[in-house]
């Protein structure tokens, strides 16, 4: 390509461009070419995956309903002081905006929003909106108080003003069992409503337990397969891979069939006389069911990385240790085990990441006590419809998972992720 002329101090190509810049140019072109190959997928993932998730996390702070439905009321409340009940003009504006909101059918959302911060206040809004249609003129304050005496409660007005802000942290506060009080201070939720922190703790604990159990079960069989001749170990590998390739719902179904009180395992136990027919074990629809089924589902993710690491460990190390006088346990613990630590790390983080966000299995076999944080995100998405709270819980979970992902990348490297 480039013709090097020795008599010049600056090396140039045939057309006189310095070689250095030409090389840089070529390199840039290659970089662009490589990047261009990746670009379609990158763009695809950004649009179909990353943007939706960012959009969802935005919902955890977005709070437009009240600001859009009652803008003039909020403006009129600017000068309002905490602890007071506003006067007639504010009521008049609110009445007008509530009637308009009623017509546009947006007032229900305001009621829902207020209800999050002040439980039981939904009806105050909906009832008032319904009856206001019949009240054509003032004085409104009197009319409001007649419909519901809660309008005389200064706290209600404080809350109304509070939820009028276009952005809010209250969903995140709720996700960690805190809340704003009427004056805007951050306080703990009442005792009977504190569920999310214990739930996060439970999710972490259960994920750790599952990771530990997976390690405990995966280590022996990975070791066995790594030390057996290829033919037999390939055969055994099928037993690991078949569950891996089998539908999640199939595996969950089989655990229900096996574990339920009238199921196969209980039947066998009764048949063997281990337990009586009327005190069959409750092994499903509780935490036990969740843990058993999830360990089964995640076990291959632990076996595979362990196996691929153990495969590379030469058996001569162990023989050397033995010949130097180490007892088998000592040889294993000081020589073999340390070499498998990268496999343990890779498998454990992977299993932990997958366990912490699991939804399907706990939902199907978890019953009341076996639910994890994902199930509550789904609950708020589909049942309670508190999408802000769902987004906040999801945001916290996502942050945790991304931190672990980063750690995994640091320790193992995504490039080294192996499948099958």
């Amino acid at each position: 390509m480039a013709e090097i002329t020795a008599d010049q101090t600056v090396i140039t190509t045939a057309d006189g461009v310095p070689l250095k810049s030409r090389l840089a140019q070529a390199e840039r072109r290659k970089k662009i070419a490589a990047f261009a190959l990746v670009l379609p997928l990158l763009a695809f993932i950004l649009i179909t995956f990353i943007v939706p998730i960012l959009d969802m996390t935005f919902r955890s702070v977005d709070n437009p309903v009240v600001a859009e439905t009652l803008p003039r009321t909020l403006a009129a409340l600017e000068t309002w002081k905490f602890g007071e009940v506003p006067d007639e003009p504010v009521f008049a504006i609110l009445a007008e905006e509530m009637v308009a909101g009623s017509k546009a059918r947006t007032i229900g959302k305001v009621a829902t929003r207020l209800n999050y911060e002040m439980p039981g206040s939904r009806s105050t809004i909906t009832k008032t909106a319904r009856r206001l249609k019949r009240i054509k003129q003032g004085p409104y304050k009197e009319a409001f108080l007649k419909i519901d005496k809660k309008w005389g409660d200064p706290d209600l007005w404080a809350r109304l003003k509070q939820i009028g802000a276009p952005y809010t942290l209250s969903y995140y506060l709720a996700a960690v069992d805190m809340q704003y009080d009427a004056e805007g201070n951050i306080v703990s939720q009442p005792e009977d409503r504190q569920i999310y922190v214990p739930l996060f703790v439970r999710t972490l604990w259960v994920s750790l337990l599952i990771t530990g159990l997976c390690l405990l079960l995966a280590y022996p069989i990975a070791y066995l397969m790594a030390t057996l001749p290829t033919g037999i170990s390939n055969l055994l590998m099928i037993m690991v891979l078949l569950p891996f390739w089998t539908s999640l719902l199939v595996r969950t179904t089989s655990w229900i069939v096996l574990l339920q009180t009238e199921g196969v395992l209980n039947d066998i136990a009764v048949w063997l006389g281990l337990i009586g027919d009327d005190n069959r074990l409750q092994m499903i629809y509780n935490m036990t069911g969740t843990v058993i089924a999830m360990v089964h589902i995640l076990l291959p993710f632990m076996v595979l990385p362990l196996f691929s690491v153990m495969k590379t460990i030469s058996p001569s190390y162990m023989r050397a240790a033995r010949s130097l006088g180490a007892t088998p346990p000592r040889a294993f613990w000081t020589v073999y085990f340390p070499q498998t630590v990268p496999g343990i790390g890779a498998g454990s983080i992977l299993v932990f990441i997958l366990a912490i966000g699991y939804y399907i299995t706990p939902a199907l076999v978890g019953g009341r006590t076996g639910q994890l944080i994902s199930n509550f995100i789904a609950f708020h998405m589909q049942k309670s419809l508190n999408w802000g709270l769902a987004a906040a819980l999801g945001g916290i979970l996502l942050l945790g998972v991304l931190a672990l992902y980063w750690l995994y990348n640091r320790i193992v490297g995504i490039d080294n992720m192996k499948l099958g």
Partner: protein, 359 residues
């Protein structure tokens, strides 16, 4: 490289074009009618859907849900309504109407009774609403497996909450409604005082405390088809359930169950239309068709839920009468679900119930 990206967009475009045109074609001439599944949906299929398809040629997709407004609100707020008509409980109708997620329905379109009585007078009170048209009277009761209680049989709501006297697992719906009512009735509150007590914070605490006493013995169900199944499988010894499902299990499937009508909580079910339905006109036509006198009476052939039109009652077969929630013998200690109370307290109770359940 340019060729390649062009190819990508081309493939995507072809796939998109093919599917986008295919999807509406599939959806066009069909209504999606959503109900509670199992034996109940089957009764609607026989009494409403099949005759309607026979008459108009319009296909009906029947989908199942487990009550509540969640899916409807989700569809309306996301601007993506795929359900055309939904079988709703009255309290959900009131709430959904307030929230603006249900279409308003002009009741003057409904056909009069055969004797000419206008629809507004023919329906029982509460069964025609600004946003919905009623179909059935149904009730939540509890039933037990007779083989599990050879000696003394449970007869009252208090027996359901007495696991010492009547040992065995209990099945209950995973939600506060009507578990709180049952808890208070079981705790000795007379049926006409239940909502009065429930309107005080102490009353709610009392209800949860009563539930607390059997919490460890309860297996929670969500779909109406589950409780008879749980009873049949021996997962529970007694369970709350919708009376029609139990009727189906006892008389069609010949299961050894016994219904306890004491303390039953009855309610109405209505057709509502999610706001923004793509087939509004057709759906209204379906509702008109399915709530006429004959259709409502037909429905009671298939399941033991009472019709909400007075003119349908004489058309219901006499041998079906004793299984209706409204039959005198069954109705002695019955409570009507207070839809206003629930519309006001639904969110709060749902949340408290979820928190209580998770503890």
């Amino acid at each position: 490289m340019k060729g390649l990206t062009k190819y990508t967009t081309l493939t995507a475009a072809i796939a998109a074009a093919g599917l986008l045109t295919a999807a509406p074609a599939l959806a066009q001439k069909a209504l999606t009618i959503v109900s509670w599944g199992g034996a109940y949906t089957k009764s609607q299929l026989e009494a409403y859907h099949k005759p309607y398809t026979a008459k108009t040629g319009i296909k009906i997709n029947s989908a199942d849900y487990n009550g509540g407004l969640a899916e409807i609100r989700a569809q309306v707020e996301a601007g993506n309504v795929t359900w055309d008509a939904v079988d709703l409980e009255l309290s959900d109708v009131v709430l959904g109407c307030d929230e603006g997620i249900l279409e308003t329905i002009d009741i003057s379109i409904l056909p009069p009774a055969p004797d000419g009585t206008p629809a507004a007078k023919d329906f029982v009170p509460g069964a025609v609403h600004e946003c919905a048209v009623g179909t059935i009277v149904w009730s939540t009761v509890y039933a037990y497996d007779t083989t599990k209680f050879p000696g003394e049989k449970p007869t009252t709501m208090a027996d359901f909450f007495n696991v010492k006297k009547f040992p065995g697992k209990r099945g209950m719906r995973k939600g506060p409604k009507p578990q709180l009512e049952f808890a208070l009735i079981g705790d000795g509150v007379p049926v006409d005082k239940v909502y009065e007590v429930l309107s005080t914070p102490e009353g709610v605490d009392r209800a949860f405390a009563a539930l607390d006493r059997i919490k460890d013995d309860v297996i929670w169900w969500e779909a109406g088809a589950q409780p008879p199944q749980m009873l049949a499988d021996g997962e529970v010894a007694m369970t709350t359930a919708y009376n029609g499902r139990l009727f189906n299990a006892i008389f069609t499937e010949k299961k050894p169950f016994e219904i306890v009508w004491d303390g039953q909580v009855w309610d109405l079910d209505l057709w509502g239309i999610p706001r923004g339905s793509k087939n509004l006109k057709q759906t209204l036509d379906f509702i008109k068709f399915s709530t006429d006198t004959q259709r409502l009476a037909d429905q009671a052939k298939w399941i033991s839920y009472g019709p909400v039109r007075k003119s349908s009652l004489p058309l219901v077969a006499p041998d079906m009468q004793p299984h209706m929630p409204t039959y005198t013998e069954n109705f002695k200690n019955a409570l009507q679900n207070n839809f206003e109370w629930w519309a006001d307290h639904q969110d709060e109770m749902n949340e408290r119930f979820a928190a209580w359940l998770a503890k």
